[in-house]
């Protein structure tokens, strides 16, 4: 290969390599190191082992954050996948105004979590929002005050997040459905298999890739969940809608407890690695099988 061009290719990678080494690897290492020191407002190198982690996991706010994220994550991914897939199947029935419906389902995804959060916060406002309408038309018993109830507030985040992402799932699934060979449908019709069975036993397995793509996208946004909580509830009422990312941010920039914050961040990192690594490994193995 041309010496000059090879040198140029190597040079062209310098920014990316610098970013990868200094920012990605360097920061991660530094964060892990700080999490094992007694740093509070400023980083120090006073090694305390896993002390910060002990404090962290004894911290009620962190416990609530983790529980919230787990509950939110599982419900969000499941429900968004279900709703998105269902909408895609319906739209795929050669309905009228398909383009309009697609646009309507997907537009929330283009907006930020801050906008989403503020819109839903207003919609669910306990005095002037949907609650008031329900009240006015006579549903006295129905209480639409989940936004201010400690045991329910996480479901309001959930509703907003599903509203934000279901259209994306729909779009991914729809392009998957459109990619399925029409002969499959002819074959199942000739075999007399009812449509719903075809969807469950033939189509869904064929859409594995689409499900994986949608799941990866949503899982990434679950771990990063922060803006939505800030905009909608700011973690409240009390600490009922706290999430790990917010825990880290608050301890880093407001509570001046960077040792604890980095311990929390490291815990998030370890969780992600534990979940993602096997998935990527499986994907690579599947890809290798296909390649062979």
């Amino acid at each position: 290969m041309a010496i000059g061009s090879r040198l140029a290719a190597q040079t062209a990678l310098i920014p990316a390599m610098l970013i990868a080494l200094v920012v990605y690897c360097g920061s991660t290492g530094w964060t892990i190191w700080i999490s094992m020191t007694s740093s509070r407002m400023l980083p120090n190198n006073n090694f305390v082992g896993l002390r910060q982690y002990e404090i962290l996991f004894a911290n009620e706010r962190w416990q609530v954050s983790v529980q919230n994220l787990a509950l939110f994550g599982v419900l969000f991914i499941t429900l968004a996948l279900a709703l998105g897939f269902f909408l895609a199947v319906l739209i795929d029935q050669r309905v009228r105004a398909e383009d309009l419906l697609r646009s309507v389902f997907l537009y929330p995804f283009s907006m930020s979590f801050i906008v989403t959060g503020l819109a839903w916060r207003w919609l669910l406002d306990p005095t002037l929002g949907i609650a008031k309408i329900a009240h006015d038309i006579g549903f006295e018993g129905v209480q639409f005050d989940w936004l201010v109830r400690q045991d329910r507030v996480i479901y309001t985040l959930l509703a907003a997040a599903i509203w934000h992402a279901a259209g994306l799932v729909m779009a991914i699934m729809l392009s998957g459905l459109r990619g399925i060979d029409q002969e499959i449908w002819k074959a199942t019709r000739i075999d007399g298999i009812p449509a719903w069975r075809t969807y469950i036993f033939v189509v869904i397995p064929m859409l594995k890739g689409s499900f994986a793509t949608a799941t990866i996208l949503m899982a990434t946004s679950v771990v990063r969940l922060y803006d939505l909580s800030v905009a909608m509830t700011n973690g409240g009422p009390g600490i009922a809608s706290e999430v790990p990312a917010k825990f880290v941010m608050d301890n880093l920039f407001e509570r001046q407890n960077i040792g604890l914050a980095t311990a929390a961040a490291t815990s998030m990192l370890i969780t992600v690695v534990a979940v993602v690594a096997p998935l990527l490994y499986a994907q690579n193995r599947a890809a290798a099988r296909v390649a062979r």
């Binding site: 290969m1 041309a2 010496i3 000059g4």
Partner: protein, 357 residues
């Protein structure tokens, strides 16, 4: 004009050696075809000559200059690729002039060269089109034009016709041959199609497993194949192979015994040697029609009409052989026949080394 000389070229991908100690000499103005099945290393050899692949050992000389360490653009070559490799966002003119612009030739020089090549290849009307708007044959001509404007010392073609349909392929073959005749450039041309090789080449290098089995003129290659592989690869329908043992000046093939003195061999063959006798279908005829050669009894299996000829398939003992027959005559062939094998044109190979005697 200029020659190419490759000596002791080796190349490996990890543990896999793809080129073994290759020597190849291309004379100025020669049209050399590298012929072989896929995976034989012919394209790798071409890439090495072009400088597109690094080599592990050996030297490459073009026009007497050692270019082994030079970049492709410094070797004075032009190349035509299998997929044409036209730049899709540029017009035909842009494609043809890109290399000249990179070399910072004057606008006038570029214009005149493009006009010359376009005229030669009947591309003048298409100069402002994009490759996407051209047919396969037109794209191929642009790819050749892009090479021509380089005024290169050496032209390299990497399976340039294999993406074309059969009719266009024949037309382009003629056109390439015409260009070579008119411009007299040196060409190294890779193909797996032996007809292409036979019709175009002044010399053919048949390759297999990273080695050159034989490098000779087409006639020589056809009439005196150096190895069993060359004999089998070149020629369609393929050469008949009859395995046997040499005894007392004869080749014994099962119950048959064919005299060895008719076969053109370089030296004496020792008794007891396992050999393979190769006879082309056109050197087998019907003895009753006066065809020359050693007569054997055969049973008719079936006939394959091919238009100009009919290929007759016969059983001789345990072996099946084919003979090229005149169509009118072939119609009445059936049952037991007497075949004449013209051993003067036969080839004799050692069964172990697979080399010609």
């Amino acid at each position: 004009m200029t020659g190419v000389s490759v000596s002791s070229l080796t190349k490996a991908y990890g543990a896999l050696r793809v080129l073994h100690d290759i020597d190849l000499d291309v004379q100025p103005g020669e049209f050399t075809v590298l012929l072989g099945p896929s995976g034989c290393g012919k394209s790798t050899l071409l890439s090495a000559i072009a400088g597109l692949d690094e080599i592990d050992g050996g030297t490459i000389t073009i026009a007497g200059e050692d270019v082994t360490e030079r970049e492709p653009s410094q070797r004075g070559i032009a190349m035509v690729f299998q997929s044409y490799a036209l730049y899709p966002t540029m017009t035909v003119r842009g494609n043809m002039s890109f290399g000249l612009r990179v070399k910072r030739l004057s606008a006038a020089e570029i214009a005149s060269r493009v006009a010359w090549a376009a005229d030669l290849l009947q591309l003048t009307a298409l100069l402002e089109r994009k490759p996407g708007q051209l047919s396969g044959g037109q794209r191929q001509r642009v790819a050749i034009g892009r090479a021509l404007v380089q005024r290169a010392r050496l032209f390299l073609f990497d399976e340039p016709l294999s993406n074309l349909d059969a009719k266009l392929r024949t037309e382009m073959r003629v056109e390439i041959k015409k260009l070579h005749k008119e411009l007299g450039m040196t060409i190294v041309y890779v193909t797996h199609d032996q007809i292409e090789a036979m019709t175009l080449a002044t010399r053919i290098a048949v390759m297999r497993g990273g080695k050159i089995e034989q490098y000779a003129a087409p006639d020589e290659l056809y009439e005196r194949p150096a190895t069993l592989f060359v004999a089998g690869f070149v020629g369609a329908p393929a050469m008949n192979f009859l395995p046997g043992i040499v005894r007392a000046g004869h080749v014994e093939i099962d119950s048959l015994s064919l005299p060895l003195d008719r076969v053109a061999v370089a030296g004496p063959v020792a008794d007891g040697t396992k050999v393979i006798l190769g006879v082309r279908p056109e050197h087998i005829g019907l003895a009753d029609d006066g065809a020359p050669g050693v007569v054997v009894e055969a049973a008719t299996d079936f006939l394959e009409p091919m238009g100009a000829d009919t290929l007759g398939w016969f059983s001789v003992g345990r072996h099946r052989i084919s003979a090229r027959l005149a169509p009118q005559r072939a119609r009445s062939v059936s049952g037991l026949v007497r075949l004449a094998l013209d051993l003067r044109h036969a080839s004799l190979f050692d069964a172990d080394s697979e080399c010609r005697y």
